[in-house]
Symmetry: C2
Subunit: 218 residues, 2 copies
Amino acid sequence: MDSSSKSAEEIRELFAPYFVEMNFQKNVTLFHEGDVDGMMIFILEGSVKIFRVLPDGNSITFFILDQGNFLGFLPMIDGGPYPVSAETLDEVKALVITHKDFTKILKSDPELALPVLQYLSKLFRNAFDIIVKRSNRDALPVVASAFLELYKRESRNDITLPVSSKEYALSIGLTPESFSRKVSELVKENIIQRIDINKFKILDVDKLRAFSSPINFF
Amino acid sequence: MDSSSKSAEEIRELFAPYFVEMNFQKNVTLFHEGDVDGMMIFILEGSVKIFRVLPDGNSITFFILDQGNFLGFLPMIDGGPYPVSAETLDEVKALVITHKDFTKILKSDPELALPVLQYLSKLFRNAFDIIVKRSNRDALPVVASAFLELYKRESRNDITLPVSSKEYALSIGLTPESFSRKVSELVKENIIQRIDINKFKILDVDKLRAFSSPINFF
DNA sequence: ATTTGTCATTGATTCAAATCAACGCCGGTT
DNA sequence: AACCGGCGTTGATTTGAATCAATGACAAAT
């Protein structure tokens, strides 16, 4: 998931007076699937995993959010329960607003719904991309496009995985093993270079794009 | 995708004065991925496929919408291009509102954003479920849960696929062949019964639920 | 310095969907 | 009535990720 966006910034500013800064330790659950009450969170530092645990024990990571992103506001909009769980992967510093406050504010000033609506639109757009990526039969394009995305958001050739290799693999819908294998392939093809654990240098952006092609559309 | 909901009805009523009724023939493109201008559509009759065509020629169906559902409003909210294409699978009767009108209305009466926001929330929730279903390794739970959903929305035991078997298969992320095979398995297990082409009777809801279990969460 | 535990990597095997291919059925057309 | 074409079904084969298993690398703890 890409970091800050126009609408996210806008929300942060508009709701600024009501936000309270909070710190969370590593591996803390921020909210749990099914919870009906919660809080809206704006991440300042650290990363948060959004996931769901299935009845069979397996879990699916939908995405990992980091600074500049919002989470946890869905129940405040439609009154439904959280559709997913959220857990910190790091120490997280965040701005928080309670359910009650959020509702109060939105009632007193309905225009504030607009940036939220726009932010939600962005997330919804992302959802399509996620589905496309995950419905890919082969893992290589998935990994290639993941690196491409990291490259875009770092806007430089040296890439560090934002979280552990394992968590990152899960967030793009792969097992850690498959991820590792495909990374090795990209290294062998001289498309990326291993600098260190979870640190890489992009050597050939065009080839990377070519490998991820069935996923990117423009 | 389930049919009408509270927020959908609300939107239809609130925007009623501005809607224009329109009819579309079968296999007509309503909007295309990348288009920046378009219309918001409320389906009265028929069904619409929401999909994306990949560079390699393959296409992914995200879902199929029928009466009581909205589509096409995303660009009107955030100004971005359509993230997907929409095509009629039937003759479709619909209420339509243009981009220009939509923007005008929302400006004059910002409170109308709320039901749209709620509707979008619902779609976003659905997106998680779709991702969960598609990331299932085995096809059987996918098919079982699809039948369960059809059962719920028809609220009776006799089920007719809302569209062709092929399109339906694609909409749940399977090839037509795999879908057919898994349906045959369910028939052999006496969980469903074949009545006619694309017509079935649910014989054992509990078993159906059991088979789809790793997908449903409550 | 040794131990412990986690994480990343690599190898061998399994497994189920996708693919390729063929056939029967039905509706529409001439 | 005969032909055609799309659709759904079934069979044989391929394919590639997941799984199971083992090892190596490194950091923290004692």
